[in-house]
Symmetry: D2
Amino acid sequence: MIKAGIIGATGYAGSELVRLLLGHKETEIVWYGSRSYVDKRYADIYQNFFKLVDAKCMDDNMEALADEADVIFTATPQGLCASLINEGILSRAKVIDLSADFRIKDVKKYEAWYGIPHKAPQYIEEAVYGLCEINREEIKKARLVANPGCYPTCSTLSIYPLLKEDMIDSSTIIIDAKSGTSGAGRGAKVDNLFCEVNENIKAYGVASHRHTPEIEDQLGYVCGQEVLINFTPHLVPMNRGILVTAYASLKKEVSYEEVKAAYDKYYEKETFVRVLDRDVCPQTKWVEGSNYVDVNFKIDPRTKRIIMMGAMDNLVKGAAGQAVQNMNLLFGLKETEGLLQIPMVP
Amino acid sequence: MIKAGIIGATGYAGSELVRLLLGHKETEIVWYGSRSYVDKRYADIYQNFFKLVDAKCMDDNMEALADEADVIFTATPQGLCASLINEGILSRAKVIDLSADFRIKDVKKYEAWYGIPHKAPQYIEEAVYGLCEINREEIKKARLVANPGCYPTCSTLSIYPLLKEDMIDSSTIIIDAKSGTSGAGRGAKVDNLFCEVNENIKAYGVASHRHTPEIEDQLGYVCGQEVLINFTPHLVPMNRGILVTAYASLKKEVSYEEVKAAYDKYYEKETFVRVLDRDVCPQTKWVEGSNYVDVNFKIDPRTKRIIMMGAMDNLVKGAAGQAVQNMNLLFGLKETEGLLQIPMVP
Amino acid sequence: MIKAGIIGATGYAGSELVRLLLGHKETEIVWYGSRSYVDKRYADIYQNFFKLVDAKCMDDNMEALADEADVIFTATPQGLCASLINEGILSRAKVIDLSADFRIKDVKKYEAWYGIPHKAPQYIEEAVYGLCEINREEIKKARLVANPGCYPTCSTLSIYPLLKEDMIDSSTIIIDAKSGTSGAGRGAKVDNLFCEVNENIKAYGVASHRHTPEIEDQLGYVCGQEVLINFTPHLVPMNRGILVTAYASLKKEVSYEEVKAAYDKYYEKETFVRVLDRDVCPQTKWVEGSNYVDVNFKIDPRTKRIIMMGAMDNLVKGAAGQAVQNMNLLFGLKETEGLLQIPMVP
Amino acid sequence: MIKAGIIGATGYAGSELVRLLLGHKETEIVWYGSRSYVDKRYADIYQNFFKLVDAKCMDDNMEALADEADVIFTATPQGLCASLINEGILSRAKVIDLSADFRIKDVKKYEAWYGIPHKAPQYIEEAVYGLCEINREEIKKARLVANPGCYPTCSTLSIYPLLKEDMIDSSTIIIDAKSGTSGAGRGAKVDNLFCEVNENIKAYGVASHRHTPEIEDQLGYVCGQEVLINFTPHLVPMNRGILVTAYASLKKEVSYEEVKAAYDKYYEKETFVRVLDRDVCPQTKWVEGSNYVDVNFKIDPRTKRIIMMGAMDNLVKGAAGQAVQNMNLLFGLKETEGLLQIPMVP
């Protein structure tokens, strides 16, 4: 049994990790870390785990945790993982960081977009970006995995086959994304109150959201050149789900079949990426609670652009599910272990 | 492997059966029955099953189905199961009827409340009411199981320990229930449109809802006398979940501990009924997607009444989950097989 | 023009007062009080008022305000109005208190249920309970109006005609109420986050909610004897609306027509209480954004009980609308002035 | 008093017309047309009008209606208005058509996108496109007004000042729009059921939505050349509201102040278009129930694009409110009469 510790277990991504790991046959959770709730019963915070979890919350002592765990998940705000990590920890446990600390290779870029100094730049190069469908082999060998952001996961998977196949002009990419409110976390903020979010939609972080450079980096690696994009996230009155609607100009005239073949080339063998049938638009409901990403596209011959769409559950494939997928790779388990939940409809 | 057939597979309860049975290790679905969608791919109706289910929809030929299946689930409107069932079918396959056809032992009462003649009254006596926590042993021996209604399941489980222990006056029971909209089915009706349900709450079927006699029957068996209740269901703007708030006068002064002991007496060994900690109110979110029923109570010494509360997922414990639990009992499997999904929050 | 000041203008009830008073022909708002946002532009907090309100937020200096205003609305937590009010203020301005401070005549009862000492008990007797349909004449002469709570308004109006006409047994009253989330206020609490409320329903304050004694008092005045009730509020995933479902035993056999006549006797001339047609259940959506209360009932001959139902907008008739209605009475204006908004559907 | 008749009064846009016209001082509704509900009381369909509207529904006899009404609103599916209109009607009553029949000047384009033959092409040229902020003077003189579509209204108002001022490249415009579900109408369709829409978001009509040519036409008139755009609408789980997020490449480097000045140039004197403060993103909630459109923009110097945003209530400014605004212009009334409802929050 792999012993797993979670720092930040009382956030939404943390509690989703608990849900998934409890259903994972090869894992045992040994540490429910939550600075805000130390010594409180975990199941008193998340009553869905009543009678299923007996443990109390621990603090975020990563040193002590590294002695007890084989793998540490940090589901915490930016900066925390980088401030705690060190060689001693990495020599004893694998670390999967769900924050942004090790996603961006250029430390200056990180510090500019996140507005904080990076406390452990020496580990940035070593860290592997944990988008399993792209970096599978490198993840297997890693000590430190930078679990991708929710928007970057859905955006990159929706777009990269066409970029890789040189079908779209990388300078024309516009990503309009919509997210459920769990992505905003469980902090008590007026903006996230029910009455503020319900019956409402808004854009936020326009031309300034921190996931922008992360997406640009990943798309840049794919096409081998710097990519600048527009990325606009929106807050939608639902709990879970991210929908990406991306636009790009086609480099040449392509048929439906050619584009479909491009997607299939990369995803045919992927369990968790489903290329939908012709003219079927992804919907977040169809992947809710699961690790699937549904993608599809539509060619617009009038404007010579293509619309690429992707839907996933931000807490699963966009956070905890992908983290478990990374854990499976790190420990040589079946990649899908504990992740075959069927989407829940309605 | 148990071969399962579903009649009414494209309703919400039917599709939930598919979700649960696909995750059940001992079962294989051999028949996706749906009169409205014959020959259409099932995964085209419920896209969450894309790449997970290849089958096409079949009609509701129960005779043919009985040749192929070991168990038949009928997730159809009242009257259909009774109109199709016969000795030949029951000799070949077990039948779990999710409709109300075999729940009420008094055929006159059935016909009065449902307004249709009963087509197979000869099987009413044989049918076992499939509330597993109460009728476990009889279910194991049954050929025909009447899967309980959603409201009756939640109401009965919330109330019966106190009735059984003679703590409450059976003539004073009032049940005020609230349900998510999936309980109303997938039929295209104006009343169930998003814009009619969202930002709205209403009572319906006041003093006339068909689940009333079913609850009265079950509570009557418990206390050995006829019970008349008030039952008022409400439609709530959410997809899943039933919350029952029930009121009754206490027969004598009781302490918290005594009442708690009464609940524990019946539920301590039950996996799927969780008696919550003192002063914690059940919430539907905490059981969403799972087969759990959370119950609790509050004594009001001022009015000498007790408030009994229960929360469950109407599509799981209130329909498909309980049906699978019944199937497990019928076939001698572990009762919890395929039913240990952890509630999904948020 | 009546000059109005609002203390607590940035809460949901306060902002609803602003919405209503801006549309009121005889009123001008001279003070937007909000301790938390002093010197911030009011329209920066509530952007719906962009270009409609230029004022900045002021503190809650009731003394200064009394010099500038003819009427002061206190839309603040319990205790504040009682701690600020004095003879000087009351001699200069009318006060309409939307908190509970002056609703309950027995100061001991207030202190027991609210858990705070009452700072101005000398004004309790003078204060008039501002349920306009019942206390219209006394309100007209008042200096200090205790604006009723949301649940008590809807509960009392749903029940009192039958109590007054001696049709129901006052010892059997059970009120099961459901409220939208704006009733919980705009404070930043985890329990009121979108993801906690959405797709969820729960009871709260069971057998202990502070509106219980307020309802009991009002029903007691009606029937001339002490009344004890069960009152259970529930939180519903919608912004606005309260639905009351109340139960009581009938004292004698009554016909639909007799009960209808009882309601009509009290409400036929009331603009804001609508007794619906036979068998039509009140829905919160049908009164959203308006000052109407829709009531109706259903006799259950089986149990000899009656189910009384009421729906209203908790922020309008349950708070700000009723406060404006009281203001209209206090100043001799047409009672409906500024309050004839038509419910918004969908 | 202007006598108004409504054909299609039981759709969502029709009922919103009723709500607005009842609050309009110079208008009286003389005809509630609804083919599906002929002879039923209108207030039985929309219970919010209980005690406010006594009338019964009439059929859609436009000839008879023209005798009784000064203005006819057709809130009906495409094709109906064109099939009924004739010289006799237009000589007796003004017609405001809320369908698409007279919005597109090129009949071939209309027939291609809508897939039906146009029954009254002879009136297309005469019809005035009723976007009041742009075509105010022509509307005043019209007999037949083509009330703009919801998406085109919000899109055009968000974009046209920058196009007019030649700041953006018309070949780069991409519009990503999000709408509440009332835009889908009140027809009983599975896709619009609560359980299908709630907790879900999807794109629809990708690269093929019928509002595309309407937007292209309007933007084309502004810049004097043919414009091709990408337009992608999305269905959001809320009742009301449209949010437009539009992207375009800047033709030259511009400052915040220059762009702000461009918007102000066109909207400073407009009551219903509010250009928000710097960095404030429009939210649909802030305009709910009102005729306002909130617009704003964000320059992205990295990509040399500008993001233009607009929010409005699809049933008010996007349908019934704009129709009343057009009526006010047609009859020489104050343009804002009956339209100054303050947005309802929360």
